[in-house]
Symmetry: D2
């Protein structure tokens, strides 16, 4: 029988520990629009995710960075992908875009055609996957929280969400289906058919409950 | 026992017949947009309604007239109500409008605000009821026949249909809820989630089945 | 020679004076959108008009009242003409509308078709003239003050202004052509091709100079 | 004095001639939307350019190829630049785009924001110039030919034309300023203020005169 002196065991453990702390943490970039931009602010879902990881003693395993800019559509992400995402050499990118692609059709006349949305989104995926990045795609959650099928833009949100679901499937990306999750949540928790105030402050941007809801969904995906 | 001579019976029958043929038929005006305009053409639902009445030997009881003009919105109806409807002194008016009020938001930027839709519709109702006209209000059927909640304008069609339902209720008008009827029909008969071709030729205008469907629904209302 | 005692002359003068002060002042209602609404506030052009009349000792000859509501289009004026204008029994109505009819095409998809603009405007004119009201029509001034022909909505503002000019001519109304006046002013006073800040705060609503400019133009028309 | 026999001179001339005919012709790709697509059809400006070159005995010096697709906006060009232009290894590319970037704001709600137009256009320029391609940029000609400043989209056409002019200047590209050229032509030849029919069939697409006009302008630029 071979006896290993305690000193050796201890030094082995220390080595292991040092090694562990030296491991490069998983770098996650959240790439999106104003919802993501707000997510990186105090109370935002990215900050809450960091807190959750810390609570699970996983703080050192992840570096979370927000790369959201208000008003961004899919081709804005495309135009700034190099500078804002690839340059950070992330391991994981969470893409959450689509609300403005639909919304701006109405507010500015500069929304994104569905087929172009699909093409630019595909270009994002291919470029990032070519760099070995793991992707999590998110469907746009809502523009209005009503549950009686009168939100003005639900039809298109569903259409663009379908495009994202198909892409996630086709390119083996993770999928965080906020569109479905928000609709299910509202069906249960919005009995008065309110336009906003359940998970959002204004029908689009997350309130406190919304940020917590999003953080808990993303925790499993990264 | 009193015996009534045949001659008397006969003359009574003749009198009744004459009286019957002298009764003014119920005059029904169909007031609306291109769907109604097409309804008055061969194969259209107004023509089919006439045929149905004839088949039930009720042809003499009704005069049906189309007053549909392509592209009309609620305020177009308002602007031509005097000339095209009131001047005909109808007993019943079937109002079917709303598709263009929603659709033109996208195609021309000149759709109708929901609150103005409600106000002009109310003005139509009040003016016609003041003349003793019985009203049947119809909800806009569809813009796109998909059943997976991706028709671009479903949210607003539902919103404007709600306005019409409320007005029918508030002003004691008949209601022909084509919005509901079309959705139910498509849920059963559109398993491939087609955009058109079930009850419409193009997602909006009625095909043969659509005209028959609409005629059968309206038959009970007039 | 007939001598008239001074007492008689004096009492006659007093009578005349009393009579003069008893003459009903000319009641002017300013009927329009947010620009008119703001015009009735301190510093607004309606208030400035009142001050100008007072400075000319004509304060007692006119009663000026604002009837502007933000966001109004021509058919909004039509819908509230009875309550907000005719009920005040004005002698003169200054109509200033058109900016939102054009602008809302872009911002909400609910602008006014040019032909409907013409029809509702005509309905306003006919109804008011039938009540003996004298009308002053104003063309929409601007949406953006640039002078290099890149204001997004100039084409339509010019088109709708032409409709108003034609109506003023056809129905013998006064015309206050702010569209022309503003363009001429900007060509002289906006050498840096600014989008706003010359006569407006935001390209549409009047700043101090704008209110003074408008007041001076309207002074001659009423 | 050295005498060169005529035979030598002749053979030298022949050699020069052969050499000349062996020189690779300048390959020009016309990259754009439906206007360019139609330009490659019989009667189109690209075909007319070929005829003009032939008439000047320059047919062998140029290869002209159309790469226009109806409905294209600047980012459509961007998405298909590799396949449709770079793969052809052109010496010169004539870019003519912008009409749909403006027009689709109204017709589909999917026009291009001015700043994105500038960014994608810049990306086109940089990519092509990096491959040694000489560029000729064209401003969008017109959407409506009226001369009284009531074309609905003139403001934005002028704005986007300014962007193209600035880019041509900044990146040392050739510029074919059709926007200016068409306006000048219409000011002279459209005295009745027609909406179409001068250089276009429908306000946008070139008629016979328009194709000739465009061909003559491009002849000097390539």
């Amino acid at each position: 029988m071979v006896r290993i002196p305690i000193a050796v065991l201890l030094s082995g453990a220390l080595l292991l520990f040092s090694f562990n702390t030296m491991i490069k943490p998983t770098r996650v970039v959240f790439f999106g629009d104003s919802i993501t931009e707000a997510g990186a602010r105090p109370g935002g879902y990215i900050v809450q995710l960091r807190d959750s990881l810390a609570a699970h003693n996983r703080a050192a395993d992840y570096e979370l960075a927000g790369a959201g800019i208000g008003g961004n559509k899919v081709y804005d992400l495309y135009l700034r992908m190099e500078d804002d995402v690839l340059a950070q050499q992330p391991d994981v990118v969470v893409i959450w875009v689509g609300v403005n692609d639909v919304w701006h059709k109405r507010s500015y006349g500069t929304g994104t055609d569905a087929d172009k949305f699909q093409r630019f989104y595909t270009a994002l995926i291919k470029k990032m996957q070519a760099q070995g990045i793991r992707l999590v795609l998110c469907t746009p959650a809502c523009i209005g929280e009503k549950t009686d099928c009168t939100n003005m833009l639900d039809g298109e949100l569903n259409q663009y969400s379908n495009i994202i679901r198909d892409l996630a499937n086709q390119y083996n990306c993770g999928l965080c289906d906020f569109r479905n999750a928000f609709m299910e949540y509202n069906n249960l928790h919005n009995p008065k058919n309110q336009d906003k105030g359940i998970l959002t402050t204004d029908g689009v941007h997350l309130n406190e409950a919304g940020n917590a809801f999003v953080a808990s969904h993303l925790l499993n995906k990264i």
